[in-house]
């Protein structure tokens, strides 16, 4: 650059300013500083629009439309759920890659690695919690996004294929969540996935079912091979599939434009791509600022929720020899578990979900009604709502509250001190469980207020079951707390009752509780008591 003549002609200051603006324009891929100032003031662009350049200059922006119809930029039209799904996948990929650093997919190491991640890696627990929360949110958000496109009729012509790729994305998201679920290799993971893959076994005919099962598990039962397969599915294959289908999906969305609110156009027309000049909202700067602010706000929310209200669970190490009481699927598969309770494995586990999937894909072709207006779509909207309600009921049936009550004595102890997880006794913890023998017939009291609640609950729960269950008579419980070792208490639950024919029956369950053990629930305010450990003496 011939600097000297420039300076002579225009003066030193002006030349430096011009050079600075030049650099600025390169960084913004085509927008000079003055234009940015006008953007921030909310002034409209001039003509020709100098703000379009970055769309053709940059890779990331070339896939974004340059302008939108103003009615689809309203938050309440899309709720930005598609954007959010994309963002969550992005978050999952980043946090997942970070987790991979400390994780080895073998039965000998996976669980130990989890413990090491939690106790030895700075921000390790945070990463794990956010990955797990992100996974659950992603399932939720993708489903909500589907519900929104259903309710606005956006699957109708010409967007049938967009909907189809969307269904694939939903399935892949569910499988991603499910395959990740196994990786911590604890009882929760192991048994949920054992039950889940056992449905594959029910695919008729028998050879096919067995082969599918064998392929997924790598052996008749989940073990080292199954874990490796799920790991590879989780970190490689499924993300790639999702990535691919996302781009097809997104290409279609941009290609057709986001469907307008139905009252903006005539029935049967699709004018999403013919945006009148006075209704254009340009991506730069308006939509970009909206989206960025929205995602930042969402991130802040997620960070705060992860930090204070969400803890990924970690139970005992996977043990193929012992099935814990009340194994449950992750919540987004409760509906499947609910169906499995009322129908057999082939029907509820394979045929119905298969039919459901085909139906979902076929919706654009089944629904021949050209109108996207709610008024004209009563049948479609009511069937959608009914389907949603059925899902919720099935999900409720999938929880242990429905139709899986064990023997009363087992349930009473499970309620207070479950085999896995926290429960009220572990929640109050070692310090609040005083040594002694407590017999429910004597209305026992201890010096500890929190422990008294447990005793009352024990008493009440026995009374409640005795009333409900005719084979559980004259029941009483004895809770014995002894010091087993320094910092280790033995908690023995004994429940005695009379069977209908007057025989004395009893049930005994022993647990140990260590002073330093922390148990936690997945959802709810985290326990920060470690910040100031209880001062002893």
């Amino acid at each position: 650059m011939a600097v000297q003549p420039e300076i002579e002609k225009r003066g030193f200051v002006q030349t430096v300013l011009d050079a600075a603006d030049d650099v600025f324009t390169r960084i913004t891929a085509g927008i000079p500083a003055g234009e940015v100032r006008r953007m921030l003031r909310g002034e409209a662009a001039g003509r020709p629009n100098p703000r379009l350049k970055p769309h053709s200059e940059t890779f990331l922006l070339h896939i974004k439309p340059t302008y939108y119809h103003d009615s689809v930029t309203k938050f309440t039209h899309t709720f930005r759920l598609g954007l959010l799904s994309t963002y969550l996948f992005f978050v999952e990929t980043i946090t997942g890659l970070i987790l991979m650093i400390w994780y080895a997919p073998t039965p000998e190491r996976a669980y130990v690695d989890m413990i090491r991640l939690l106790s030895n890696v700075p921000f390790g627990q945070f990463m794990r919690d956010i990955h797990r929360l992100g996974a659950e949110m992603m399932v939720l958000i993708v489903t909500a996004h589907m519900v929104r496109t259903y309710l606005t009729g956006s699957y109708k012509a010409p967007r049938q294929f967009t909907w189809f790729t969307g269904v694939i994305l939903l399935v892949v998201t569910l499988f991603l969540s499910f395959s990740g679920y196994l990786l911590p290799w604890d009882q929760l993971a192991f048994w949920a996935v054992t039950i889940g893959t056992s449905m594959a076994e029910a695919v008729p005919p028998k050879v096919v079912g067995e082969t599918v099962n064998l392929l997924a598990r790598g052996a008749p039962d989940i073990g080292a091979n199954g874990l490796l397969r799920f790991y590879l599915l989780h970190v490689l294959f499924l993300p790639l599939v999702l990535f691919l289908f996302f781009f097809v999906h997104y290409y279609k969305v941009v290609h057709f434009g986001i469907s307008l609110p139905s009252n903006e156009e005539e029935v049967g027309q699709d004018t999403a791509n013919k945006v009148p000049a006075d209704r254009r909202v340009y991506f730069l700067p308006d939509v970009m600022i909206d989206e960025t602010t929205f995602l930042i706000g969402f991130t802040a929310l997620m960070v705060a929720v992860t930090a204070f209200f969400f803890s990924a669970p970690l139970e005992s190490i996977a043990n193929p020899q012992s099935t814990p009481l009340h194994t449950v699927a992750p919540w987004y598969f409760y509906w499947l578990q609910g169906m499995l309770k009322i129908a057999d494995k082939t029907v509820a586990g394979v045929i119905l979900p298969g039919v459901l999937l085909v139906l979902l894909i076929a919706i654009p072709y089944l629904d021949r009604n050209p109108s996207r207006r709610g008024r004209d779509r009563r049948v479609a909207i009511i069937s959608g709502v009914v389907a949603g309600i059925v899902m919720i009921i099935l999900s409720w049936m999938g929880t242990p509250y429905y139709a899986v009550q064990g023997a009363p004595a087992v349930e009473i102890v499970q309620e207070l001190m479950p085999e896995e997880g926290m429960g009220p006794v572990r929640e109050i913890g070692y310090q609040h469980v005083p040594l002694g023998v407590y017999d429910t017939r004597e209305r026992p009291e201890s010096a500890d207020e929190e422990f008294n609640h447990i005793l009352h609950e024990f008493e009440a729960s026995i009374a409640a079951f005795a009333e409900k269950d005719a084979s559980f008579n004259n029941a009483y419980g004895i809770l014995e707390v002894t010091q087993e070792q320094p910092s280790l208490k033995r908690i023995t639950w004994k429940i005695n009752w009379l069977s209908p024919d007057g025989k004395e029956e009893h049930f005994v369950r022993t647990f140990f509780l260590h002073e330093d053990s922390l148990y936690w629930e997945q959802y709810g305010l985290k326990d920060f008591s470690f910040v100031r450990p209880p001062t002893q003496e």
Binding site: Q125, S487, F512, D516
Partner: protein, 299 residues
């Protein structure tokens, strides 16, 4: 156009939106900073937590697998298996066996491999191999957990060695203690128990170590044999049938005071301690015989 009720939420000015974005970033940073400040403490709490849970798991494993021989309280059973909840064990044992590693390694290795050999042993039982690596039932994490549980006795064991809390250690005959008395770890020679009057057979059956090898509930049949010593579930019916001319009482009495006189087929001589005649009074032995032969034996 009608404005919806939530229109007060609309933010129009780009600067205001950017401001909100900056607030979001600041909130995230603040939360992360807070986490960063407490991270050390969180990690040590987690570390302690998993150690604690390991001890809990170990306790369960110990109760189901080890307590039979090493005692529910870990103080061993005479003639069956040594004490672990013992000051000697925590302070002197490694020196006496010449072990160069840590006690943790010693316990873990012993649990993993067991003591499956019978040469030179004063103990009635061999210790089985526990680790899956050598054909036993436990995974590595279970071996680690039960080790943590045993080591967790330390604090309590170190208070032993006083009159009201004696060290339950019974010296190994093949590794005499090199401890000097002033070292504080008294490898007490087996002290004759103080005469406390006859103890009930139920109690003696455990404290003398019988329960380590004999199962009281299972019957002894050809397809259900006790692994180390015969089961005693059906002893009242069977006792009179082993040695011709010996009735049930004589047979059981002889088997206690002189175990090698008759060895049930399939078992080895010399496994059962030979000195019960000295360690129990005649009165106690007779009560034991009567109790073992009682068809409605009560625990």
């Amino acid at each position: 156009m009608k404005r919806p009720w939530y229109s007060f939420l609309y933010v129009r000015s780009p600067l205001a939106k950017i401001g909100l974005g900056i607030v979001g970033v600041l909130i995230s940073i603040a939360v992360l900073l807070f986490l960063g400040v407490i991270e050390e403490r969180r990690m040590s709490a987690q570390e302690a937590n998993w150690n604690g849970r390991g001890v809990e798991k170990g306790a369960e494993i110990y109760m189901n697998n080890c307590a039979n021989c090493h005692g529910v309280d870990g103080k061993g059973l005479p003639g069956v298996a040594p004490a672990l909840h013992s000051k000697y064990f925590f302070t002197q044992r490694l020196t006496d066996v010449g072990w160069a590693g840590s006690l943790h390694d010693y316990v873990k290795l012993t649990v993993a491999s067991g003591r499956p050999s019978k040469t030179h042993t004063q103990w009635a039982q061999v210790m089985p191999t526990w680790s899956q690596r050598y054909g036993g039932p436990f995974r590595d994490d279970q071996v680690e957990n039960v080790t943590a549980f045993v080591l967790n006795w330390e604090e309590d064991a170190l208070t032993q060695g006083v009159a009201e809390n004696p060290d339950p250690w019974q010296p190994f005959t093949d590794t005499p203690s090199k401890a000097v008395a002033s070292d504080g770890a008294p490898a007490a020679e087996e002290v004759a128990p103080e005469a406390t009057g006859p103890l009930p057979p139920q109690e003696l059956f455990v404290s003398m170590g019988c329960s380590g090898c004999h199962n009281l509930d299972q019957p002894q049949t050809s397809d259900n044999r006790g692994p180390i010593a015969p089961n005693m579930g059906n002893l009242p019916e069977e006792a009179g049938t082993f040695v011709p001319g010996e009735d049930a009482e004589t047979y059981v009495h002889n088997s206690i005071v002189n175990p090698n006189a008759y060895i049930v087929e399939g078992y080895m001589a010399g496994i059962m301690p030979q000195n019960f005649g000295e360690r129990m009074s005649e009165e106690e032995i007779n009560a034991m015989v009567a109790w073992l032969l009682d068809p409605n034996r009560q625990r």
